[in-house]
Symmetry: C2
Subunit: 255 residues, 2 copies
């Protein structure tokens, strides 16, 4: 070797990727803001000096990441969108469903998220959100007489209001994904042993307890209650071994 220049690995960068990078960069530096319009595809191919196919492929990946939206016929060009966690939801959902995940892992994940959400909700909830949660619990009580399906819908609404009150979108998104996947996995078990009157009353009482702790601003208690209730709820349909492990974890192990 006659020189010591610091060579670096070379990777072929595809044309459409460089287009994506530039537009994505302009968006992340606020050069392009939500509501702004991109030039039309035919203009873009002139400024980037590539063919329209390349421009289109770039726009497709930008669109799939939720950064822009193209509508046919709109003379104003593709629109720059407001960033939204919706795309994250989709990704997390796919991940949860795609990965081969044991039921117990999913339950652990859910326990952890539910606990954290309740803890944070106790710390961060606003008065308005407290009202919403109270209303959700009242709705649950009203739905007890309308059967398990209506009741569990109201139950979900309560949990969603708690997640919102946690002011943590990541926990909210992952929590919803975990809940959805979990319900899919245990749907048959739930069908076989649907929520009885007694079970509904129990859930209601539990949620009331949680609400009390959140209302009092007692995060640790809210979290502990939430975890133990989730464990109790899914305990029936998990193997005895897992029941034991998670049960022991109830008050301390997952703290």
């Amino acid at each position: 070797m006659t020189h010591k220049a610091a060579f670096t690995a070379v990777k072929t960068v595809k044309a459409y990727e460089r287009v994506v990078e530039q537009i994505e960069g302009a968006i992340s530096t606020r050069e392009l803001r939500p509501g702004d319009r991109l030039p039309s595809e035919r203009e873009l191919m002139l400024t980037f000096e590539v063919s329209r196919s390349t421009i289109r492929e770039a726009l497709r990946v930008l669109e799939s990441t939720g950064l822009v939206r193209s509508r046919p016929g709109d003379p104003r060009g593709p629109e720059v969108l407001q960033a939204s966690p919706a795309i994250l939801t989709k990704t997390v959902n796919r991940l949860v469903r795609l990965e081969t995940i044991a039921l117990e892992e999913l339950v652990e994940f859910r326990i952890m998220l539910e606990g954290a959400a309740c803890t944070l909700a106790a710390q961060h909830r606003t008065e308005d959100q407290l009202q919403t949660m109270r209303a959700a619990v009242d709705a649950m009580r009203a739905e007890v007489k309308h059967g398990p399906i209506a009741f569990s819908r109201a139950d979900v609404a309560f949990h969603v209001s708690v997640w919102e009150a946690s002011h943590n979108q990541l926990i909210q998104i992952c929590g919803e994904a975990a809940r959805g996947a979990l319900i899919d996995m245990v749907a048959e078990e739930l069908d076989r042993a649907p929520n009885s009157q007694a079970k509904m009353e129990l859930s209601l009482a539990h949620d009331r307890e949680i609400l009390g702790a959140i209302s009092a601003g007692d995060g640790p208690t809210a979290g502990r209650l939430a975890r133990s209730f989730v464990i109790e709820y899914y305990g029936d349909i998990m193997s005895l071994k897992n029941r034991a492990a998670l049960g022991a974890a109830d008050d301390v192990a997952l703290s």
Copy 2:
């Protein structure tokens, strides 16, 4: 109106979207598994009866979501990929950068995941995994003298081994995503105040403590230690207000 047929909203579905749906569906039903090869673009245009541009646009969005990868010249066709947290990291990253998700949310998320991972690792670790973790800590000690970059690489390796020992893929994936996004966000702050010798020694001591608790099977302690160390680590670069809130949460609130 002469009939009451239940009409439903009609949306034009673009051709490439239907291609995406079908391939995505095949992947999510395990009909296509990681490592499998898709037919070549020219074959796909025959089976879907669309043009190659349409196929390519579909492949671009599948590629941008991390489901497949196309390599030029490979006669075996596009490869179906294993789901990875990388895409999650990127998405979270962008959302934080665009201020759709607050940095403190990300830190809270990380705290929760790290704590849960350590707690579960203490319960579920095998002897082999314990060995791996011990080796990782030893490697950290050895890397102290090789500077911050080498050290933090070893630090990451230790955390990865803990995540693996938790036997929970969801926590592992989300943990990696959160860590990756967080590091990207605070990279500049870290550059400004790189890990000093003292800081490295401190991290090493912390990880040793955690390893001790995991080794002893003491989940609660492992979790509590992990949470407080993460808080300590990121406390400097967070606002005072958040520091206070999370600091108070240290031993109890996030439990």
